[in-house]
């Protein structure tokens, strides 16, 4: 699974960071980003799907399911 955070859409709700801190990072301004160039370890895919479903800005894009 490969994902990215659309920086234009992300407004810093930080739901992704709360749900999958192993995958997402968040800076001092609330901007989220994906670690590991967007590649998600298999074991964390379910957590990431939850993050996608809980982002109020629809900012997490799944590039490769």
């Amino acid at each position: 699974m490969k994902i990215r955070v659309n920086e234009e859409k992300c407004q810093g709700h930080a739901r992704c960071y709360a749900l999958a801190p192993e995958v997402f990072d968040v800076d001092d301004y609330g901007q989220s980003s994906v670690k590991n160039d967007g590649w998600v370890p298999d074991a964390l895919e379910n957590k990431v799907r939850l993050a996608v479903e809980n982002c109020p800005e629809y900012a997490i894009e799944v590039l490769e399911p």
Partner: protein, 397 residues
Amino acid sequence: MGQLKPVEDWTTDFEVLDDGYIHDPFTVWDKLRDTCPVAHTNRRGSTWLLTTYEDVTAAAHDIATFSSLDIGVIPAVEDEFEPLPYGLPPIGADPPLHTWTRRLLLPWFSHKRVDGYEEMTRDLCNKLIDGFIAEGHADAAAGYAQQIPVRVIAKILGVPEELSDTFTGWVRDVLEFADVEERAIRGRDGILGFLLEQMPLRKEDPRGDLISELLHTEHDGEKVEDSVVLGIAALVLIAGIDTTWSAIGSSLWHLATNPDDTARLVLEPELMDSAVEEFLRAYSPVTMARVVAENTDFKGCPMAKGDKVLMNFPSANRDPAAFDRADEVVLDREHNRHVAFGSGIHRCAGSNLARMELKVALEEWLRRIPEFHVAEGAEVTWAGGQVRGPRSVPVVF
């Protein structure tokens, strides 16, 4: 506020301060979403009320049409007093002022900073509980929820915690009693007068707090103007107190009246994170206003320049088109794209802090008071308007 004209038609003459509506807005929202999702009133000027998730989030993202230069659900008192030429940035500003003032503010509420406030919040909750636990009863709203956020905000602003009751009174004046002119003025003048006194002290002798730092910050090579610092500090005080206390109070009211949910949270504390999000969704406190910047047609409604638009985030979060079982509190809800903290560029800057305070307040309460219910015959009272939440929740345990 019993003297308000009764509402006969919620679609054409809604009244956000109606007693019945404040107590139970849910049935009105359900009816409006089904029959007239964009309602209107001429009370306090031409004002539109958006009730669906789709409409509320669309308006929140259309910052060109819906300006943040007036965000008050109840119009501010107009008089001579005008020390805030820029209002309350960033929430009460449009870009570009919004953009750079928000960047000044956000790091104060980052995860790292908020983690640093958790221990003091936990201590504070326990001290409050120590004060009433032996009595077997307490007011979960006035004696607990209301006491927590104000003290954390005082710490961040660097102002004396002993003034907490005074701050709470001013913030209630500004938000809860915005419709009562003398109280709205008293609260506003209290907050701004206090901050105007504090600012010169921090200019001379910076103390590392938010006010001191902002006063010594530059933007585009120039010192940030005092009136901008004043606006930001006033915003933090107003927005950081009533909102979170209302969320804590509503959550405790829910638990006091739903013993099955209380028992489940006590037995399954790992549900706390999703429960916090669910309480935020089901009992979102905050409605924000916008002002129409240019004549526009919104879903067939002719909105005129200068009209008010109320973005009803609490109703959006109960919209069955956006949430399964929208009217139920589901502690382990997995998909929860709620917009309790708004949507778009004005997402609540303090959301990390609010979430931490709500979680810690509930954890410590449930750890020490795992069984409680509303006292028999006691009256639970609510406030509404810009911020909805309980003002008194007498409980026994």
